[in-house]
């Protein structure tokens, strides 16, 4: 008797994606600023401030300046923040306060199209932010090419993964303030301990193990390898990790969203 749709997504998810593009284009001048300015601030603070204390950092046998060490990680943090915050706060506001999803559900769109459109939009925001930041970092000679070009497709994959898990949290939190919980327990630890600002090896063994469970650590490893031009086959394991993480969190987000909204 009940309609029991599977995870069937139609091309219509692009309509939802496009709605977000239309809104983004209204404020793009403001939206462009953070990814443009953030790397400059980081380079100023860490490159000129902290570098004096840290000096060179050893990474996979090479010795690199501290600024060069954190530059690829800054891109990864931007990927995570842009996608995760889009499908948590952004999607929650659209779903809960603006009732945008309700309005969409009265059209030929199904919930699966809406959620997929939102998640792909989150991934798109990660790509946009990465591209802008990477252009700035490139001006400082911090990214090596052509390998560095791989960071862009990587930003989509990473954005998709973080947007999916963000959408899962949006489906389960009762109130917008509760996003503090996944941010405090999930996002911030990754930001600090994901091999971003210091090499993982400086952590105790158990902490390293924990770090490798989290997606950002794998992403930073990939981004750094591409940014430094040090590619090898073992990196595919990290890609696989992100792909599996996405393949699990995307349907999870859909299922939980359906049980939240379809009444």
């Amino acid at each position: 008797m009940n309609t029991t749709p599977g995870l069937r997504i139609s091309h219509r998810y692009l309509r939802v994606w496009r709605r977000n593009v239309v809104v983004y284009r209204k404020t793009w001048r403001v939206s462009f600023l953070p990814p443009l300015l953030e790397p400059l601030l980081y380079i100023l603070a860490f490159g000129y401030g902290l570098s004096a204390l840290v000096g060179e950092v050893a990474w996979r046998g090479a010795s690199v300046s501290y600024v060069a060490f954190i530059a690829p990680a800054l891109l990864c943090i931007a990927m995570m923040y842009n996608s995760f915050f889009e499908t948590t706060y952004g999607s929650f506001v659209r779903m809960y306060y603006q009732k945008t999803f309700d309005a969409m559900l009265a059209t030929p769109l199904y919930l699966e199209d809406i959620i997929a459109g939102e998640i792909v939009w989150g991934a798109t925001k990660a790509v946009i932010a990465t591209a802008i930041m990477q252009a700035i970092l490139t001006l400082f000679g911090l990214i090596r090419y052509p390998e560095g070009l791989l960071i862009l497709p990587l930003s989509f994959l990473a954005g998709f993964a973080f947007a999916s898990i963000g959408m899962f949290f949006t489906a389960v939190v009762k109130h917008i303030d509760l996003f503090n919980l996944p941010i405090f327990l999930f996002v911030t630890p990754m930001f600090l301990f994901g091999g971003t600002f210091f090499p993982l090896e400086t952590l105790p063994g158990w902490a390293q193990t924990v770090a490798w469970i989290l997606p950002l650590t794998h992403l930073v490893e990939l981004s750094r390898a591409a940014g430094f031009g040090l590619l090898d086959g073992a990196l595919l394991w990290h890609v696989l990790y992100l792909a599996v993480f996405s393949a699990l969190s995307f349907p999870l987000a859909l299922v939980r969203m359906r049980s939240r909204l379809i009444k």
Binding site: K99, D102, P108
Partner: protein
Amino acid sequence: MNYVVEADNLRKTFGAFTAVDGITFRARRGECFGILGPNGAGKTSTIRMIYGFSPLSGGSLRVLGEDVTRRRSLRRAKYRIGVCQQENNLDPELSVLQNLEVFASYFDIAASKAAGKAFELLQFIALENRRDTPIPELSGGLMRRLVLARALINEPDLLILDEPTTGLDPQSRHQLWERLEGLRAGGLSILLTTHYMEEASRLCDRLIIMDHGRILVEGSPRDLIREYAGKDIIEVGEPGEELRAFVRDRGLRHDDLGHRIIIYCDERDRLYRELSGRCGRDGCILRTATLEDVFLKLTGRELRE
């Protein structure tokens, strides 16, 4: 196909709570069909199943000839339905015009065609000069008109309105009614829920009154009034014992509300003259029976949550 909605033994349950308890009705092509009822009667649950927002818990439902329990047919039906939901869920991040254009894209309407249609609809709701206005700057009445325009963007075969004038001032309400009457005159099939009886009398060709998930009565407003309330109503304020005895002795159809007696009658002038002599200091009022009398008679006068 003569019906836009065919509901048979339609049910909706939420856990142990039954919102819609096996209702059967038909809405005909080209008519305005009303679903009336107090809060919690099951109106919105019914209408949400019709536009594909909620899955059915039981029974069968065809909308525009499509079996909406099947995903593909439901999608086909959704292309041909326009919906004004209860809340003003316009997209506040988009302008007036963009709200129509983006919504058109959800129906796969090409951008060039959508622009023309959007402008036409803005003229219809007299908002063509405010096409770039941000939504939060619109008044409640204008928002409601824009919601109506948005529901018409796909040139629907069925327009569904869930309490379209709730919360509007009288001016805005009449503005909206005029437009809905225009659409009805143009042959559009309309499905309407409301708890304004004036609205239902004015717009609906036929209606059902629901309560507790069931249909109490079905018919045209005029027939329902005639059958359940008679032609006229005499209301007596602060009735005395003498008057009560008179009403009882004459076997008049009435509701005794304590401070007020409502008498349903068909031979107005004679009875009114007889009664007015017996009325207390608050006097009595003779008026035409309305749908509201039917509604209150059938669904009771106690408050709903």
